[in-house]
Amino acid sequence: MADVVSRDLPVSAAGRRLSLHKFARRKSTIAFLMALPLIVIVACLVIYPAFYSIRLATLNKSMQHFVGFGNFGFLFRRNTFWMVVEQSVLFAVTAVIFKALIGFIVAHFVHNLPAKGQRKWRGMLLIPWVIPPAMSTLAWLWLFDPSYSAFNWIFAHLGIPQVAWLGNPYWARFCVILVNVWVGSPFFMIMYLAALKSVPEQLHEAAAIDGANWFQKIWYINLPMMRNIIQITALFSLIVTFANFDIVKVLTNGGPVDQTHVFSTWAFTLAIWGNDIPLGASVSLFMAPILAVAAFFILRNVRRRGSEA
């Protein structure tokens, strides 16, 4: 018996070494090991905080007792919360529509520029997107400043009545959306430009032979070919815009009279100024399931079209 065991040992050890060697040489293992640092970072900085904020949202104000969905129940009874929901939707949807529209138009202009100067234009048009929004919004704040607005200075010289850019709720909403569109349009432009580059030129040539005008080329060729990119870009931007913080925080701080607050700024006010971290966490989590459902359907459509193709 002892002999059998001693004879078996080297064989099984060698086998294990072989299978470990095989396992280590597998492409999936190498890919996993190479992605591991990123996975660890995502786990630490995204997944853990996400679950931690879910836990916080289930605690009472002093964070000592579990209250389940009590914080959400409380929020649903507050008028200010529903005002913030309305404003966040208005802010995100309006901004994404305008960003998509402007990005689409500018992408076509840039695409039709001569190849020689195109790179310079692309670089210049990306500037609003690459400047940190907190910095560029500060510059916008000076342009809209309640007392020293540069725009009002020009208006005064032209004899046009001055505008309370950030003092009037409607103008304040206009301003935060405008700045968001200014910052975000280049992202749409560059994504659409990349999509346009992949549309085969032969399709346009064939359409031209058939007598199609510029609008028909866009409608029947470009739009269908760009559909996936348009949807993914819009989804991505919608999520980011819903979570926007810096523009509103710097420009209006949610004012006047809460009329420009969005989820993140109101959550910050409740959690950090008001020392009610669980309620702030609940506000910031409110949109997560809705956006997750939207993301599911959009990505499913994209996948289906991908498999049909």
């Binding site: 009472n60 104000k61 002093s62 409380f74 009874r77 507050r78 008028n79 200010t80 309640p146 007392s147 020293y148 309370a164 850019w165 950030l166 003092g167 304040a172 925080k249 209006t252 701080n253 949610g254 004012g255 006047p256 009279v257 809460d258 910050f268 006010t269 409740l270 959690a271 950090i272 100024w273 008001g274 020392n275 009610d276 971290i277």
Partner: protein, 448 residues
């Protein structure tokens, strides 16, 4: 045979005997390490004086001290305390803004043993500040002698003389008590008249008060309400906003708002300063930081600025205070050193230096520490901030006290009162609708 073999038992015995027999040697940092998070002062040079004092204390007490100056810009100070409370790790001593210490009562070490001797030595703490610093009968934090301002009036001597015929330097003379007869006329009713006269002068020199969601706006409205006997919530947490006094004050605001800058509801804490320093504003409610910046950037404007108490109402004269507090976490490994440092920084010797370094910006919370020569000597014009510390009939208050601290915190943080004013002025709602809205908001703040 004698064996010299070293066993585990003999090693431990030898080590213990040596340790007990060894004399206590005061090493360079014998009392350990201390990390401190102080507020990054607006006034240039104020941090240096505090650093010098801390190092003086550290050298004497043999403590290895590390100081971080944390700005309150972009709420970094609030974020730091929230993060440290969550992580149960951080500075041994941290600065807390206004209600933050009260909100962290469960996490910070009571400082009754520090406060009792300090009060005996430096005089009592104003009721408004004690209300926040003392929770459940215990001092939870030390009211900070550095960086705590009040928001009295800061006005243009020339403009108020021209438009209103008032000589501020006679009403509140430098180095002397207020002229009772003249100061008695400095009321909220007179303030309304002043706003109207400044507006009607047509020169664009308006009373520069904001009604936005930030500190300055939220703070200055409280003395108006308090001066008329109106309170949002009483000491027991009962909602008291539905009162005739509140209606009276809101009617007063309905008359005031047309004479204010039209974008006043979008003002932040910098707006009123800029309005004054640019030469436009006739009066703002602010600590002397606006004046200090004017000395540097607009000397001609600074020459005409005078700081003096807020107007009074039928129930008294109040200056809003937004104090800082120094606290030490329960998880701090060196609480004894932390308490020793806080005691040292509240000594008359230390406070006199920090007040001088801040050019009089800091208002010590102790009643007997309001007699430093700094306030009489600062200028130009000389004595401009003599009446900045609360003197005479002025009571220093934290806005929205005596409501329980956590409710008052929400009223302050959510700018409920400026919003209530906005509802019945620019939003076209009736006074009763505005009050109902505020009552509904406050109901929500009472959640536990």
């Amino acid at each position: 045979m004698y064996s010299s073999r070293l066993t585990r038992r003999t090693l431990l015995q030898t080590a213990a005997t040596t340790a007990l027999a060894a004399p206590f040697i005061h090493g360079a940092f014998a009392a350990g390490k201390l990390t401190v998070g102080f507020w990054d002062h607006w006034v240039p040079g104020a941090n240096d004086a505090l650093t010098k004092l801390c190092h003086e204390w550290a050298a004497k007490e043999k403590v290895d001290i590390t100081i971080d100056y944390i700005t309150s810009q972009a709420d970094k100070l609030n974020l730091t305390q929230a993060a440290e409370a969550q992580a149960k790790s951080g500075h041994d001593v941290l600065t807390f803004l206004a209600w933050a210490a009260a909100a962290q009562t469960d996490n910070i070490e009571p400082v009754d043993d520090v406060m009792a001797p300090l009060i005996a030595q430096n005089g009592k703490i104003s009721e408004g500040i004690e209300y926040v610093a003392k929770q459940g009968g215990h001092w939870v934090a030390v009211p900070a002698c550095v960086g705590s301002p009040t928001l009295p009036s800061c006005a243009r001597i020339d403009l108020l003389k021209e438009y209103l015929g008032v000589d501020l330097t006679k009403m509140y003379p430098a180095g002397a008590p207020a002229d009772d007869a003249l100061a008695g006329k400095w009321t909220w009713d007179f303030f309304l008249t002043a706003a109207e006269k400044c507006f009607k002068a047509g020169q664009g020199h308006l009373i520069g008060v904001g009604l936005g969601p930030t500190n300055d706006s939220v703070s200055w409205v409280d003395p108006v309400f308090r001066g008329h006997g109106a309170a949002m919530v009483d000491q027991e947490g009962n909602i008291t906003v539905k009162s005739d006094a509140t209606r009276q004050v809101l009617e007063w605001y309905q008359r005031l708002v047309p004479y204010m800058p039209k974008d006043a509801f979008a003002w932040d804490d910098a707006s009123n300063n800029k309005y004054l320093i640019s030469g436009q504003g006739a009066l703002i409610f602010n600590p002397p930081s606006a004046w200090a910046v004017a000395v540097r950037d607009a000397p001609k404007v600074a020459q005409q600025l005078w700081t003096f108490p807020s107007p009074k109402g039928p129930r008294g004269r109040f200056d809003a205070a937004v104090p800082f507090f120094w606290g030490t976490w329960k998880f701090s490994p060196n609480k004894s050193a932390a308490k020793s440092l806080l005691t040292f920084l509240c000594q008359r010797y230390s406070v006199e230096q920090t007040v001088a370094a801040s050019h009089g910006y800091d208002i010590p919370p102790f009643a007997d520490l309001h007699d430093f020569k700094t306030w009489a000597e600062e200028g130009p014009p000389k004595g401009t901030i003599y009446h900045y510390p609360p003197r005479g009939d002025v009571t220093m208050v934290i806005p929205y006290s005596p409501a329980p601290a956590l409710i008052a915190n929400q009223i302050y943080a959510q700018a409920t009162v400026p919003k209530m004013i906005a509802k019945c002025t620019v939003e076209g709602k009736s006074i009763d609708q505005a009050i109902d809205w505020a009552a509904s908001e406050i109901e929500g703040f009472a959640r536990t």
